[in-house]
């Protein structure tokens, strides 16, 4: 292994990883071409790399733990660049709810697969035992460049950081009665800066600050460990009945969905009336498959505005080597004094200017699409690491242009009204596909969605059906090697990806079901608490449910209309939350005085939650379906009534 780290090797490899379309230059040749501070920068770089070699890795290279590739022999076999085997978990039960995963190494651009993936199932528990534990599930996918260290560190450490951040705001996340109701009645003077912060904002904040902390951690580790390179980060978090996707970089999360359109439903019912036997087939044919992006790619092209703003506000970062300009065609010395079509700084449109010597500098952002580059070097503009990354040829620092700041997208699963059936077992909840750019470079979002449902249809009952989906997606993106050693897509003969590919396939519906069950358990326990405190309350509650049963239908329909707009919901249902809080508060007023009872109930709750977690993913579908249909109305009932109550409160407040 040691011979691989000779300086030129590292450099060539490093260049080809970051800018694969730029041929690696021998460093001596490089020096002759550019004298002065450039060669100085290059030799500094070599010194630094030589120094870097002596430092150890923070984490020994490994593949995600759930793959169980435990020996170096297995690791080596999995990184066979000639065959590029598709690796899936040998035990699919290790991932929750049959989540699919598959990966495949690059065709030789780096020795190891520099992608990483991770997941965690955790519980936020209240040290005071006044609230039930809140479970959550996290998935992360990290695409490394210029080394495997950053992605590896992120896959080991990110979820611990995130957990800490969530624990930091634990009492606000767990509380159901929170102080909001009091705040609402007292309008603070504007000078008091009193802002109500929603739970969603807290979770977004936890994700964002975790991204920043992960990046700082890599910065700190530079003194002790070998240069880790950099990585993108795409993270999905299922918590409190909602899905949060936080992304920095060009990995991507896409929700694959299908829907039976209204016209088709009619057709289906008529066909059912005439020929019942073919109804399901007709239904399957007219299902519409579509993909909803749950993240935005951060590349020099998509982030051009931000990068040029940085360059414009801090011109010294360009070190007189780059121009905060973009030219319609690359200007040459012979064009000096002539007019050239360009856009300056953050302009969107194009204009003419007379070419000066300064215009011969390289633009901060060059190229288009997948080939766009920052400072001629890097193709991704957000993520972790890259603290020591220098631009090719100029040695200019790149990190100041980068940021770990993620963009966060939310989907409220409880707002989706859909009862999965045999034609659409995932309902409108969809299948979340998270993957590195190895997949997305050669596959359109919609094509991915089609493959998802085609493959699921092929394996209707298999426990490992989502793994089969992941495997199929990777197999298509990897393609086949032809006689001249090039990887080609099977259907179009176009170039397949030569990059590492990693894909996670998540059945979203399961997390809604999980949440409904949790809510049910929670409500039961609340009821128990209450019945212990004042036995008559149980009866009252039963009346309450009966009373609102009629309202339930209207409410569901109303929500369905919202749903049809198919928007990605980035807003909290404050009313619902608030209303729940109101009711809970009434109940809670009694509880505090009887501590023993609370403790008793809490023990039961802990048991219930662990039971919920132990629940096998292969549990009887019928059972769970029944549960969900029973649960949903009950939940909506509660919230409908509470909403009304809340409206009353609000009206009172408004009058004031």
């Amino acid at each position: 292994m040691s011979n691989m780290f000779s300086i030129t090797n590292i450099k060539n490899r490093f260049i080809s990883v970051i800018a694969p379309d730029i041929p690696p230059l021998p460093s001596a040749h490089n020096h002759q071409l550019h004298r002065g501070n450039i060669s100085g920068a290059a030799s500094n770089y070599q010194l630094r790399m030589a120094h870097q070699q002596k430092k150890p890795d923070k984490f020994a290279y490994a593949r995600p733990r759930f793959l169980q590739l435990l020996t170096i022999d297995e690791l080596r076999a999995s990184a066979d660049h000639n065959v590029r085997p598709i690796i899936v978990p040998r035990d699919t039960n290790l991932l929750p709810w049959g989540t699919g995963y598959a990966e495949c190494v690059n065709s030789g651009k780096s020795e190891w697969n520099e992608d990483q993936a991770a997941f965690a199932r955790q519980v936020l528990s209240d040290p005071t035992h006044t609230h039930p534990d809140l479970p959550y599930t996290y998935f992360g996918i990290f695409d490394g460049h210029a080394g495997y260290g950053a992605a590896l560190a992120a896959s080991h450490q990110f979820h611990h950081i995130l957990h800490e951040k969530l624990v930091d705001c634990l009492e606000l996340l767990l509380s159901r009665e929170s102080d909001n109701s009091n705040q609402e009645s007292v309008f603070p003077h504007p000078s008091q800066f009193h802002r109500r912060v929603s739970k969603d904002e807290l979770i977004i904040g936890a994700l964002e600050s975790a991204f920043f902390n992960m990046d700082s951690l890599l910065a700190q580790d530079r003194d002790r460990y070998r240069d880790a390179g950099g990585c993108t980060a795409c993270v999905a978090l299922f918590i409190n009945g909602k899905l949060f996707v936080a992304n920095a970089g060009d990995s991507r999360a896409v929700l694959s969905q299908r829907k039976i359109s209204i016209a088709c439903v009619e057709k289906k019912t008529t066909s059912t009336a005439i020929v019942p036997a073919t109804s399901s087939e007709a239904g399957a044919d007219i299902q519409e498959v579509f993909a909803v992006p749950f993240s935005f790619d951060h590349t020099p092209e998509t982030e051009r505005h931000r990068l040029l703003t940085v360059a414009r506000l801090k011109p010294h970062l360009m070190e007189k080597q780059y121009a905060a300009m973009e030219y319609a065609k690359r200007p040459h010395m012979k064009d000096l004094g002539q007019r050239i079509l360009c856009r300056q700084g953050t302009m969107k449109g194009w204009t003419y200017k007379t070419l000066t010597r300064e215009d011969l500098r390289m633009p901060v952002v060059t190229g288009e699409g997948k080939r766009s580059r920052l400072l001629g070097t890097l193709g991704v503009t957000r993520g972790f690491g890259d603290h020591d990354l220098l631009a090719i040829n100029t040695g200019t620092q790149i990190k100041p242009y980068l940021t770990p700041q993620p963009e966060v997208v939310i989907r409220d699963l409880s707002k989706i009204v859909s009862i999965p059936d045999e034609n659409n077992e995932d309902g409108d909840y969809g299948i979340l596909v998270m993957a590195t750019d190895g997949l997305w470079d050669v596959s359109e979002n919609d094509a991915v969605a089609r493959t998802v449902f085609q493959t699921l249809a092929k394996y209707p009952t298999e426990k490992h059906r989502y793994t089969m989906v992941a495997q199929e997606l990777v197999a298509r993106a990897r393609g086949k090697i032809n006689d001249s050693g090039h990887w080609r897509l099977a259907d179009s003969k176009a170039a397949a990806t030569v990059d590492d590919i990693s894909v996670i396939v998540i059945p979203v519906y399961q997390y809604y079901k999980e949440h409904v069950e949790w809510e049910k358990k929670y409500a039961e326990l609340q009821q128990k608490r209450q019945s212990v405190i004042c036995p008559s309350a149980t009866e009252a509650r039963e009346d309450e449910i009966f009373l609102v049963n009629g309202v339930e239908k209207a409410h569901v329909e109303e929500e369905h209309e919202d749903d049809e707009e198919e928007e990605v919901v980035v807003e909290v249902n404050r009313q619902q939350a608030q209303a729940t809080i109101d009711l809970e508060e009434e109940r809670h007023s009694n509880i505090e005085s009887i501590k023993e009872v609370v403790e008793l109930v809490d023990n039961e709750l802990t048991e219930a939650i662990s039971a919920l977690y132990a629940a096998d993913s292969t549990e009887d579908d019928k059972n769970s379906e029944k549960d969900s249909t029973v649960d949903t109305p009950e939940k909506t009932n509660k919230s409908t009534q509470q909403q009304q109550q809340h409206h009353r409160n609000r009206n009172r407040k408004d009058k004031r």
Partner: protein, 213 residues
């Protein structure tokens, strides 16, 4: 641990014939009566000694189900040896051998050594395929043949090691281009024809390896 050569193997055959169990018996010397369905591919490795040389076997154990066939095909590339396995208690797994062989011949390099294996020889009472039939098939298609039992470990060592011997002979004859890794052979750092420091000689198998090269 350093090796003179690394040979890449692939194990193929219908689902449930005992491919994963053969691998487990060879690498870990144990038998697992209930083995999960292999999805995709799994890897195993072990060091053996042939002619006084340390040879590492890197073994790719593939999924036998029809659904995985197209992905499995891409794994023939770069294999120096293949174990084609059928179950002596299930006639259909024997009948499918021709398809497997066609696949293997089409997608591998022409020098790949193929060993035909009739597994589950311990279940003689339920035998559906006679040993002579296996022998005849092997003779007809130019394969080496053996009956094994992953449960009792009978002939398991021999199956893997005899395949390696055959590959080794082909190298000596100059049939394999050992500088082309796509042939499934890699040269290690340990080149000297006789290395006195090596434990044991001849065809004795080394212990299961977990070290790095």
């Amino acid at each position: 641990m350093s090796y003179a050569y690394l040979f890449k193997y692939i194990i193929i055959g219908d689902t449930g014939v005992g491919k994963s169990c053969l691998l487990l018996q060879f690498t870990d010397k144990r038998f697992q009566p209930v083995h999960d369905l292999t999805i995709g591919v799994e890897f195993g490795a072990r060091m053996i000694t042939i002619d006084g040389k340390q040879i590492k076997l890197q073994i790719w154990d593939t999924a036998g189900q029809e659904a995985f066939r197209s992905i499995t095909r891409s794994y023939y590339r770069g294999a120096a040896g293949a174990l084609l396995v059928y179950d002596i208690t299930r006639r259909e797994t024997f009948n499918h051998l021709t398809t497997w062989l066609e696949d293997a011949r089409q997608h591998s390099n022409s020098n790949m050594v193929i060993m035909l294996i009739g597994n589950k020889s311990d279940l003689d009472s339920r035998r559906e395929v006679k040993k002579e039939e296996g022998e005849a098939f092997a003779r007809e298609h130019g394969l080496v043949f053996m009956e094994t039992s992953a449960r009792t470990a009978a002939n398991v060592e021999e199956a893997f090691i005899n395949t390696a011997k055959e590959i080794y002979e082909k190298i000596q004859e100059g049939v394999f281009d050992i500088n082309n890794e796509a042939n499934g052979i890699k040269i290690g750092q340990q080149h000297s024809p006789t290395n006195p420091s090596l434990p044991g000689a001849g065809n004795q198998a080394g212990s299961a390896s977990s070290g790095c090269c």
